[in-house]
């Protein structure tokens, strides 16, 4: 059974084709990296999956349900969670309240009261190690703490699919390793499929992803297990001219 399926999804902005007939499938619990340079269509693809954009062509299925034109707030209860590259906390609310919001409106929203949500938030805070900041206003956290909270908030939604948008961008390599280990552990425990979107095949993706999908100019050019993808000549070519560690 596929968790997420994209069928020839195309998204255009005026004359520009941002995503060009992309098809892909993700199974429950899988760990995928979506990789591609700037302008490859990754962000647009993410936005189509989370409902910020609706595609002109093609379909998006979640657990065999057609969600192509479903508004974003209806996708969260289905089990789609998302973090943003630049964290978007609810600044004036406390860390505890922020994370509780995830529980309140996520996949378990029907059975979760405000008090339940606050309890879930407390437990999540313990897991991510932000106990000292529990009652602080989210806006006062450091960038790394905000990223952690963002992930915590998404986890509180009890998602089946977690879309992570460049979550490790700008982080110190040691922090990245820690974060990767942490996410892997939680995702395995909770059986969450994780789609991590990054600009390059960095240590984040290599450490986490079983499979890598490479986008170039809106089209999918590679969809293979990580090791294979790293050695694929097409991938190397795409990144020629772009610096870096791979």
């Amino acid at each position: 059974m596929s968790l997420l399926k994209l069928d020839h999804v195309t998204k255009r902005f005026g004359g520009l084709v941002a995503v060009d007939r992309v098809s892909l499938g993700i199974r429950p619990g899988e760990f995928i990296g979506i990789v591609g340079p700037n302008g490859s269509g990754k962000t647009t693809l993410f936005n189509v999956i989370s409902g910020v954009y609706f595609p002109e062509e093609g379909k998006v299925f979640f657990e065999d349900l057609d969600i192509t034109n479903l508004p974003p707030y209806k996708r969260a209860p289905l089990g789609i969670g998302r973090t943003f590259q630049i964290p978007r906390p609810f600044s004036s609310a406390t860390v505890r309240e922020n994370i509780a919001v995830g529980a309140m409106f996520g996949s378990m929203s029907h059975e979760t009261s405000v008090d339940d949500s606050l309890e879930i938030a407390d437990r999540t805070i313990e897991r991510i190690g932000l106990q000292d900041h529990r009652d602080k206003a989210a806006g006062t956290l450091t960038p790394v703490e905000k990223k952690l909270m963002e992930i915590g908030r998404a986890l509180a939604m009890k998602p089946k699919l977690l879309l992570m948008d460049e979550a490790m961008a700008g982080m110190h390599p040691n922090d990245i390793d820690q974060m990767v280990a942490f996410i892997k552990r939680i995702a395995e425990e909770e059986k969450i499929a994780v789609v991590s979107m990054v600009e390059h095949i960095m240590r984040a993706v290599v450490g986490m992803a079983e499979r890598v999908i490479v986008l170039h100019q809106g089209r999918k050019i590679v969809d293979a297990p990580t090791k294979e993808a790293l050695e694929n000549p097409k991938v190397v070519e795409v990144y020629l001219g772009h610096s870096r560690k791979g």
């Binding site: 707030y73 969260a76 978007r88 906390p89 609810f90 929203s109 405000v114 908030r153 939604m157």
Partner: protein
Amino acid sequence: MKKQIRKYSPLIPVYAAYLFLFLIGRNLPGMWQLVAMLLFYCALGQAFNIFLGMTGYVDFGYVAFMGVGTYGMALAITRLANVEGLATAIIVIGFVLALFMSTMLSIAVGAVALRLRGAYFAIATIGVNEGFRFLIEGAKIWNGSEGIIFTAQLNQILGREAASALSIFWADVMVLVLAALAAFVTLFYMRSKIGYALTALREDEDAAKVMGINVTKYKIIAFITSACFAGLLGASSWALKTPYVFPPEVFEIHYTIEAIIIVLLGGAGTLLGPVAGGLIYGISKYYLSVFLPGIQLLIFAPIIIVIIVLFPEGVVGMLKSRLKDSTLARFLI
């Protein structure tokens, strides 16, 4: 049960303040008028805060809901005055009608305006009070620009004495009840999913959507609630105290301005804020009108600007941050 009481304990200072005002008004000679005005401003602030404070959206046409509520009461009184045996029930019907009409208007306005974001919403509402007023005058609905005078009918329904007691006392008691009710509803929302959703959408509407919050639904809830209180306020504080209604008076943007001042001054989005704001504004206005009549807006307009630029959280907001770790923090919501 104990947990429930703790949950609602922030209402204690609010209700204490209202009770205190009431007692002062009743026991000190000549103070009732001032107290009545202060209660009106507190009620106005609590009602307006439910929308402005909790969603962060400004409804510049807010007074239209008060106007419509006034009409509701006026219409009930004039149309039913000659129906046998209804007597005081007519006043109740008046409130129900006011509630109904403000709900209808808020649904009509909300259905259009609430799909729009921030600035566009404000633009859409800027003409609501004008638009509605000119609809009434233009299409000559409900007597058009002549308005409705219903002193005679009110006397007929209640008898001279009761009608008089209504306008100088009981109408103000109604305002007190409304202020207390609005405070309760505010806290109720704050403690429930509604409050969390509103905070989320106020801070970051797009992130809120992705978290599963149906922002339009919650905006509508806050909008209609706030409008209903405005309608009831118009029905009691306007219709029952001064038994006539003229379109240019009840759709006067002045009241929206005052509501904005009160909420900003006290602290938008807080429970105690409107009380603080209502008291500060009301008392300042009262004494200003004694010493320097006619210029209170002249003084308050730059004050609003100063607040926006330098103290956006208002009085209660600032107290909240200062007294964060004290025992009082529980009450400074």
